[in-house]
């Protein structure tokens, strides 16, 4: 059965296939060779926050954002879940484990499952409390305002915002500034990244927002996907230059 795809779809399928091939090759390669990755500002900032929080005996607060299935369907809204998993492992048995707030039903359920899974993995299911993974608000605005109210608590050592947030996150950053709380923002939308420039926060931009935890964990999958992303970036750049030259020369329609 012949399938007629237009140019846009042909390109889309090619890119998806390339991405998949690069990822599979890198998953196999990561066993054999140890690649060298640049130090990520996000990783250092997260590690500093974890250190400060355990030293002061205070908790870290994680905002997971407002969007996975409610305010527009998009996987990008789930970028904070891997960070939650990585940070929970480090604070599971502390008096103040990582406290997370979601602004979306599916995110809240996934987050609850991650928390329960972390305790079960540590053979400490009896310590699991649903309240450390809460639903904050139900809309983009209320997801921000519920966090604005929570971060002023004196038991907080820092704030991490990983997921989709409306540009109103400026209010959160201001509130954190007022309470001298260090903040890391990792928002996939461009307007959210622009708003993240406000205040003293460590603001992850571009595709780095999908890796706030990857380099922290040094997991095989995360490192392989970073490497595959590098390959895909090079392939796209070379492809663009070649296509532009061929188009100017009249060899491509």
């Amino acid at each position: 059965m012949a399938i007629a795809l237009n140019l846009n779809d042909q390109l889309a399928v090619t890119i998806a296939a390339l991405g998949l091939i690069f990822l599979l090759i890198n998953i196999l390669r990561v066993k054999k060779s140890k690649r060298e990755f640049l130090a990520a500002s996000g990783k250092e900032a997260v590690e500093t926050l974890v250190h400060v929080s355990s030293e002061q005996g205070k908790r870290l607060v994680l905002g997971l954002g407002h969007s996975l299935t409610s305010s527009g369907i998009g996987l990008s809204g789930a970028s904070g879940l891997s960070l939650q998993k990585a940070l929970l492992k480090r604070s599971l048995f502390s008096d103040h484990p990582l406290q997370s707030f979601a602004g979306d039903g599916s995110l809240a359920c996934l987050s609850r499952m991650i928390v329960q899974g972390a305790y079960r993995g540590a053979v400490a299911s009896e310590l699991f409390r649903g309240s450390i993974s809460q639903m904050g608000g139900v809309t983009p605005v209320t997801a921000v305002t519920s966090l604005t109210n929570h971060i002023s608590d004196g038991d907080n050592a820092g704030l991490l915002l990983a997921g989709q947030f409306s540009p109103m996150l400026v209010l959160l950053l201001d509130q954190a500034d007022r309470h001298d709380l260090p903040v890391i923002t990792s928002v996939p939308s461009l307007s959210g990244q622009a708003a993240g420039f406000f205040g003293k926060s460590t603001n992850l931009i571009g595709e780095d927002v999908f890796d706030p935890a990857g380099k922290l964990n040094q997991s095989k999958a995360a490192l392989a996907s970073l490497s595959a992303a590098d390959w895909l970036r090079i392939a796209i750049s070379v492809g663009l230059i070649l296509a532009a030259i061929l188009r100017m020369g009249g060899s491509l329609p």
């Binding site: 369907i73 209320t142 970036r233 796209i236």
Partner: protein
């Protein structure tokens, strides 16, 4: 002005002032206003979800066993029960299968969305800038169009390489090759320009909202004085 309009106005002004009390460092009134917002939004969206999704897509097919959709509706019903079990401490793991289905579909939609909706159109749009019909008109090269096209191509590539992850170990840590570092620096300038423009856009929108809120308060004051 009717009595209900007057009450709506008084309510609006009171809530606005409660929100603005944040400037003075107040937490109580700001907290009350925002918690009212959370409660009302949650209540409203709960009703909408039940009426617009649960009743027509889940309850309606299940209420007529003879209908063709009945058997198909049993699947989401079973998965929904597993999700509801998540409310209980011991039932959290029950949600793994429905959430896996949800994540799988979202991941597939993301692949389709980013390749078909973002990557391919963006790349084709850059590519179309190099159309000879645009670059040469009446046998004369259009230098400004060529400059613009080259700038977009090189600008986009330089932005892409800001996020290149791998490098080589040198004394003092892992560093990128010099040429990538140079390209990345140019990319940072383009990123800064984009975020600066977006920041101004956000500020303008917020300013309009501020003017709206203040004008509501002024209208209210004019009623009395």
């Amino acid at each position: 002005m009717s009595l209900s309009d007057l009450i709506v106005m008084i309510l609006g002004v009171a809530l606005t002032i409660m929100v603005f009390s944040y400037i003075l460092g107040d937490r109580l009134f700001f907290g009350i206003a925002t918690h009212i917002l959370i409660g009302v939004s949650a209540g409203f969206l709960t009703l909408v979800t039940i009426q617009k999704v649960i009743l027509p897509l889940l309850v309606a097919p299940l209420s007529s066993p003879a209908a063709p959709g009945f058997l198909l509706a049993l699947v989401p019903m079973t998965l929904s029960i597993l999700l509801i079990l998540m409310l209980f401490r011991r039932g959290v793991q029950a949600g793994a299968i429905p959430l896996a289905l949800l994540s799988g579909v979202l991941a597939a939609l993301a692949i389709i969305g980013v390749t078909r909706g973002t990557l391919a159109p963006q790349l084709l749009s850059i590519f179309s800038r190099f159309d000879p019909a645009q670059l040469i008109q009446e046998a004369e090269p259009q230098w400004s169009s060529l400059f613009e096209a080259m700038m977009i191509l090189l600008g986009v590539i330089s932005v892409l390489f800001v996020f290149h992850h791998q490098g080589k170990t040198k004394t003092g840590g892992v560093v990128r090759p010099v040429f990538l570092e140079g390209i990345g620096s140019i990319g940072q300038i383009f990123i800064g320009i984009t975020f600066g423009a977006l920041f101004v856009g956000l500020f303008s929108t917020a300013l309009i909202a501020l003017i709206n809120s203040l004008s509501d308060i002024i209208t209210f004051l004019k009623l009395w004085f």
